[in-house]
């Protein structure tokens, strides 16, 4: 985060009530967003959520039906793409197949800058050094691996020192290991050049690890904007809670409030305590109760304890599935009509057997209420 000296080279982006439709279907519906200068912002959402359309609007490949885009407080409504001074990395890299690596990287310089040949050569060499590809400059794109093409695309996008860099799912075509390596690489390059980055991805872990700010999009609208940890810890709606990280979402009705303790009733009648909601709610309302799997402690039910089935911060259920994920075992536990997710450390996994009765406990602060809206993937937690 410490790049105060560089932030001057990033543009500030403002989207004002952007609207774009294809026929009857809104692809981007009333999207407003402020991107601070020099920030790394991700547009995150499932396919069809409007993130790529938003990016293409910023690039100028599409014209908004309504609304405005301001780059450094200047409307770019009438500015064609080639005059917006933007760099872009495309999903399929879109390197020019008939040009060498050096010519690909030098393309923006030939088109838009008034550098002399020697200056341009020097700049290309600098960029290739930045992406660590100096030794490949006479190769053609088809002679490069996916990761190398990705780096060339980065160098081409940044060579003319644009104040804004757009990236459209740039790592989608790479395998997992290379993807993680490139994430670090892109962060490093971002820190060293200080350009504002708008990064489109459907991969939540990518968005969370790389971004200063994440914009979650859903059905052409913004579902929530926030720093990665805030989105994870305090989602404001069930869609974000479900989309980011693993989650348990239980359909509940609010029963009553005693001081700071809210009591809600799950489908099968059990009463559960929850933290105070961040939205206006009162007794009788329906809501979703969110508990992250890692916030739940699980242990097998002991016969002697004779515990009550579902009360306060505790639920009893039956273990349906146990799967190994390296560092943890993931458990699926049937409680009433819901299938809840929990985790146990690798060394504890052996003490859980499918079919066993399980006690789940959590702190009431970890049980968060979210408004009941139609925006959630309702069937996600239902037991088969």
């Amino acid at each position: 985060m410490d790049r105060s000296a560089d932030t001057a080279s990033g543009a500030q982006i403002r989207l004002r009530n952007l609207y774009k439709s294809y026929g009857e279907v809104a692809a981007v519906d009333d999207v407003s967003l402020d991107v601070p200068a020099g920030a790394f912002v991700s547009l995150l959402g499932p396919s069809g959520s409007g993130k790529t359309t938003t990016l293409n609007l910023i690039a100028g490949f599409l014209t908004p039906d309504r609304g405005d885009i301001l780059i450094d407080n200047r409307s770019v409504a009438d500015v064609p793409p080639h005059k917006r001074n933007i760099g872009m990395v495309f999903q399929s890299y879109s390197l020019f197949p008939h040009m060498t690596v050096a010519d690909n990287v030098g393309f923006p310089l030939r088109m838009r800058s008034k550098l002399t040949r020697d200056e341009a050569k020097k700049r290309i060499a600098e960029m290739l050094a930045l992406v660590q590809l100096s030794h490949l400059q006479t190769r053609y794109p088809r002679q490069l691996s996916g990761g190398q093409q990705q780096r060339v695309a980065m160098a081409r996008a940044l060579v003319s020192r644009p104040r804004l860099l757009l990236m459209d799912e740039p790592l989608g075509a790479l395998d997992k290991k290379l993807r993680e390596q490139m994430q670090t690489e892109i962060r490093r390059i971002h820190r060293s050049v200080g350009t504002t980055v708008v990064y489109v991805t459907h991969d939540q872990s990518e968005a969370l690890t790389m971004s200063d700010l994440v914009v979650v999009m859903h059905r052409a609208r913004i579902a929530q904007i926030g720093p990665p940890n805030a989105l994870y810890e305090t989602p404001t709606n069930a869609f974000v809670a479900d989309f980011i990280g693993d989650s348990n979402l239980i359909d509940v009705a609010i029963v009553g409030v005693v001081g700071d303790r809210w009591t809600v009733k799950a489908g099968d009648g059990a009463l559960i305590h929850a933290a105070p909601p961040a939205f206006a709610a009162s007794a009788g309302d329906h809501a979703f109760l969110l508990i992250r799997p890692e916030d739940m402690t699980v242990r097998p039910l002991t016969k002697s304890a004779q515990e009550t089935p579902m009360q306060g911060e505790r639920i009893v259920g039956i273990l349906k599935e146990r799967s190994f994920h390296g560092d943890v075992f993931k458990l699926s536990i049937a409680v009433g009509g819901d299938l809840l997710k929990a985790r146990v450390a690798r060394e504890d996994g052996a003490s859980f057997e499918v079919g066993q009765q399980i006690v789940l406990t959590w702190k009431s602060a970890a049980a968060r209420l979210l408004p009941a809206s139609d925006d959630v993937a309702g069937g996600r937690n239902a037991a088969p």
């Binding site: 690039a59 100028g60 490949f61 064609p80 793409p81 080639h82 917006r84 933007i86 760099g87 872009m88 495309f90 399929s92 879109s94 390197l95 020019f96 197949p97 008939h98 393309f107 923006p108 030939r110 088109m111 838009r112 800058s113 088809r142 081409r156 996008a157 003319s160 757009l166």
Partner: protein, 293 residues
């Protein structure tokens, strides 16, 4: 052992029909080509060598005769000019097709194809009506007072080229269009976002990437042009005689089958050579939409 021996034959039989299947499917077409194309070709080659005892005499005549040299040069010249003109006219049209969508593209394609579906002889005859001394063009020019005597449009190299280009255009457009469609449009977006104006994006990215298609179309059109018969026969003067006409005259009027066969065989070799050279450098697969690799 016995168990294996008993089980092995059915397996082998099960595999056999699958292997035989492609051959069976190819058989009718192969038979057709063998009987009606390859066999006549072999006979023609045979005749060119055996017309007058066994010798290369027919070839020697073809190569040494000033008539054949002249006709061959005329053929190469007409074919080259027609190819270049067809490409120049087809390129903007094919490009327009790639950037239009839906109904407009369909309409434009229809205008390309309608002449293609009309018989070559009919299309060539229509030029007689347009270009003749009392034809539409001369009539109009005279009515407007631009000329007093009719321009000698017909029976000239000009008329032959006009006719050839018109016949070659639809194919040229379709081949170029196919090649252009395979150019990734996001490359143009990539050029634009990195500072290229529309013209620069075309000049530095689209045009170079369309060149393989241009070479492919050039090959096809040139090879086709070499064999033109009806168009120079109807629209040209004897000066524009192309090799196919000479072969026809030799074969059907002078009954010099040996020389006709030799000339035909030489034309075939030239055509094959051009295709082979193209294939060596550009790979013929691309014409049919194969990969560039």
């Amino acid at each position: 052992m016995t168990a294996i021996a008993e089980h092995a034959p059915p397996r082998a039989q099960a595999v056999q029909p699958q292997r035989a299947m492609p051959a069976l499917l190819l058989l009718p077409a192969l038979t057709w080509i063998a009987v009606f194309f390859l066999l006549p070709l072999v006979l023609m080659c045979w005749r060119s060598l055996a017309a007058d005892g066994y010798s290369f005499k027919a070839y020697w005549i073809v190569f040494s005769s000033p008539l054949y040299t002249k006709v061959m040069l005329t053929t190469l010249e007409s074919a080259s000019i027609a190819t270049v003109l067809a490409l120049l006219l087809a390129y903007p049209m094919a490009y327009t097709l790639t950037i239009t969508r839906g109904v407009w593209r369909g309409l434009l394609l229809m205008f390309v194809f309608i002449p293609y579906w009309v018989d070559i002889i009919v299309r060539t005859f229509s030029w007689l009506i347009l270009l003749g001394d009392h034809g539409l063009i001369n009539g109009l020019l005279r009515k407007l007072g631009i000329v007093h005597a009719p321009l000698p449009l017909l029976y000239s190299e000009f008329a032959v080229l006009v006719g050839m280009v018109q016949i070659l255009l639809p194919l040229t457009i379709v081949v170029l269009f196919g090649a252009m469609l395979r150019i990734d449009r996001t490359l143009i977006s990539a050029a634009k976002i990195h500072g290229a104006s529309g013209w620069n994006a075309f000049r530095t990215v689209f045009f170079p990437l369309s060149l393989p298609g241009v070479y492919g179309a050039a090959l096809l059109v040139f090879v086709l042009s070499l064999g033109f018969y009806v168009t120079p026969a109807l629209l040209g003067s004897p000066r524009q005689t192309m090799v196919a006409q000479t072969i026809m005259v030799e074969a059907s009027e002078l009954l010099e089958w040996g020389q006709a066969s030799a000339a035909g065989f030489i034309l075939l070799v030239i055509t094959t050579l051009i295709a082979a050279i193209y294939n060596r450098y550009f790979s013929l697969d691309r014409l049919w939409g194969g990969s560039d690799a």
